[in-house]
Amino acid sequence: MLEFSLDARRGSFHLQVECTFASDWTVVFGPSGSGKSTLLRLLAGLDFPSMDRPTRGRIALDQRALTDTATGVHIAPGHRQTALVAQQPALFPHLNVAANVAYGLRNLDRSARAARVEEMLALAGASDLAARRPQDLSGGETQRVALARALAPAPRLLLLDEPFSALDGRASDALLERLQLWLRENQVKAVMATHDVTDALAMSAEVLLLSEGRLKALGPAAEVLATERERIVARLKSC
């Protein structure tokens, strides 16, 4: 269970949310600028603590406090078993794909590391890219590699910020299906931010509706996004 209560200011933007994600797969839905990426960065432990970015709050995963500004607890990003796949994946340009995926696996020996890299690239559908350089990858391939790299260190919480925006619909669906199965098998919770209502509805997951930094609703996709769904259906009928 992921619980958080956050009060963060970024210039004129103010994010203020308090909620508990009981489901293993939660979609954070909201328009651009609603605070989705900020929320995911805070959950990942980035920007905490920061002098120029005042933030108060608490984040706990399965009752273990990852951040608690009241008690001064803040587990560093690389030590909270949380992975983040950003919308613009930042692959290390001086390392090839295999080395990128292996970056977070320093604690494994050489053969275990190679096996893990192979497994993660296969999961992401990027096995044939291992020797390539990030500069030579397409947008979709880059996102696949970024996903493999994020999953390699076996996180307990996976944060996805519109991670498949560069993949076509069919490829995205196939990858998402494999990913959801893998996450279930490995008991990894996932939080995915999207502004695409069809993505949010298709996953029939728990949905957090975010607007201007505030929580508007939290519940099953069919309930939280009922108005959005009716709008889409009405538009389709009028065609």
């Binding site: 002098m51 690389g78 930042a90 260190p153």
Partner: protein, 223 residues
């Protein structure tokens, strides 16, 4: 040609550059990645030798390392001799004098590395040391080269600090720039011309090295 002074200048520049790298890389990383409010003061302090007249810096160091201060007396007691008017004293002066020329290119290089890459490395468990060695330094290679070359050349050509702090002791503190000064004072313009040409040649060669690296990168990008 004073080969002894030439060798001493090279030795001084090599030792100074090595020490400067060991100081400047972590310092530049701290200035770029750190968030303390004191970092602005630290950066100002590290840049100060760039705007301070070399003779002023040399004078302060001469006083600081001399027998009038506790620091100077402590160092003398520790080493058995004062740092002023010795090769080691010149190294201390050169490191302080050339510090901004090592730190500034590295700060610029590290700051140009995409913060998303730094965040990605932190999320994958990289601590400060690994962040610097595996991300910042490889991605700011050109800045590292610039820091090395500028520190080396700046030390080779320094005069004010050397004269104030080291004087003119053959084999110990007499560098090429001091030799050039002596040659001009003695109206030996032919020898001075020769010495100046060597200093000029070294500078042009080193700068050409930096710019050739820049050009190679440009041509790869354009291909």
């Amino acid at each position: 040609m004073d080969w002894q002074a030439f060798a001493l200048s090279l030795r001084l520049a090599t030792v100074t550059t090595a020490i400067l790298l060991a100081i400047a890389v972590p310092l530049a990383a701290l200035l770029v990645l750190g968030r303390s409010r004191w970092l602005a003061a630290l950066e100002a302090l590290a840049t100060l030798p760039m705007v301070l007249p070399p003779t002023v810096l040399g004078f302060f160091l001469l006083v600081l390392l001399g027998p009038r201060t506790a620091v100077g007396r402590g160092i003398t007691a520790l080493l058995g001799h004062p740092l002023a008017f010795s090769f080691n004293g010149l190294v201390v002066g050169s490191v302080i004098y050339s510090l901004p020329f090592a730190v500034q290119p590295l700060v610029a290089g590290f700051a140009s590395v995409d913060t998303a890459l730094v965040d990605a490395a932190r999320l994958l468990g990289a601590g400060p040391l690994r962040l610097v060695t595996s991300i910042l330094v490889p991605l700011a290679r050109r800045s590292l080269l610039a820091a090395i070359v500028l520190s080396f050349l700046h030390t080779i050509g320094e005069f004010g600090v050397v004269l104030m702090l080291g004087g003119d002791i053959p084999g110990s503190t007499r560098t090429l720039s001091i030799v050039l000064y002596n040659q001009v004072e003695n109206f030996d313009y032919a020898a001075a011309n020769h010495t100046a040409a060597i200093l000029l040649g070294m500078s042009v060669l080193a700068l050409a090295l930096i710019y050739s690296k820049t050009k190679k990168r440009g041509s790869v990008r354009g291909a």
